[in-house]
């Protein structure tokens, strides 16, 4: 049994019928409008920049 860890593989993202579909990693399966996807992307990048400079949680 493996414990859930942060994903190291990016989710698949496609545009279809005017919406953005995010599939994976894991159980992620989300459809967003273009605006929501753009804002989510911006927030993800912002959080990723912060996370890179944070110390990891002790095991």
């Amino acid at each position: 049994m493996a414990r859930l860890e942060p994903e190291t593989v990016a989710g698949k993202v496609i545009a279809d019928s005017g919406v953005v579909l995010l599939d994976g990693p894991g159980g992620v399966a989300v459809a967003m409008t273009a605006d929501a996807a753009r804002e989510t992307g911006r927030r993800l990048i912002e959080a990723a920049d912060l996370a890179e400079h944070q110390p990891p949680e002790p095991a």
């Binding site: 279809d16 005017g18 919406v19 894991g26 159980g27």
Partner: protein, 243 residues
């Protein structure tokens, strides 16, 4: 002597999942204690959340579901029922349901009063155990649905959903050469798999283009069971087939 005639109301009950453990006498008793058999139109709500329920229903023909609506009115299907399933046997001990029960297609149902079930519980321990077993199968399926929603992506969820339905319908003799009728809309699949309609449409197109399966006008054809079941991480053990 076992007389598995097609005239029985309970003909599909536990078929492929332990029906052989029911004696002819037990099956005859179930048939004899049916309160009524009736037909329902598609998209008909039979039980609403919180209603006091005094009967339990066996689905004879068609498809039914259990669902919960969120505060915004968006629906999550929490179970799909195929012929041979009791759709609300758990209402017998629970009295009130925490979800709605509705038809997806036109359906034929049989119902037992809870008084009649009480009589069975009091006098027929083996039959009671088998009725309990059927509700435990529901619980087993629910656990698998939690796994599906929690661990699988969109393709996996739909692959798993289709594999499960194919296996369950096969048990009751409703699959013909990897084809089966599934009178659901893509919106129903979406509500069962926690996806938007666009997402379901995209995934079904992808599965079709890769020659894994098709879902057209209420009929599913599976072309590559091995790949489809691998995609859905589908292991049919939880359905207790052949027990």
């Amino acid at each position: 002597m076992r007389a598995d005639t097609t005239e029985r109301i309970t003909d599909k009950f536990l078929r492929g999942r332990g029906r052989q453990r029911l004696s002819d006498d037990e099956l005859a008793l179930l048939d004899r204690t049916v309160d009524r058999v009736r037909e329902l139109p598609a998209r008909h709500t039979l039980v609403r959340t919180g209603d006091r329920v005094k009967t339990s229903t066996l689905l004879l023909e068609g498809f039914m579901c259990r669902y919960i609506d969120d505060h915004a009115g968006y629906r999550q299907l929490v179970a799909i029922h195929v012929p041979g399933d009791f759709v609300d046997l758990h209402a017998f001990p629970m009295e009130r349901l925490d979800h709605d029960v509705a038809t997806l297609s036109p359906a034929r149902i049989a119902s037992w009063t809870h008084d009649a079930l009480e009589g069975i519980v009091e006098t027929r321990p083996h039959l009671t155990r088998m009725l309990w077993f059927s509700t435990l199968l529901d619980a087993s399926i629910h656990r698998e649905w939690i796994f599906r929603m929690g661990r699988l992506d969109a393709e996996g969820r739909i692959a798993h959903f289709i594999c499960e339905l194919k296996t369950r319908l096969d048990m009751v003799g409703l699959v013909d050469d990897d084809r089966f009728l599934l009178p659901l809309k893509q919106a129903d699949v979406a509500e069962a798999c926690g996806l938007t309609g666009v997402h379901v449409n995209r995934v079904l197109r992808s599965l079709r283009e890769r020659d894994l399966m098709t879902f057209r006008t209420g009929q599913v054809t599976i072309m590559d069971w091995k790949q489809l079941s691998a995609l859905g991480q589908f292991d049919p053990g939880y359905l207790r087939g052949g027990l």
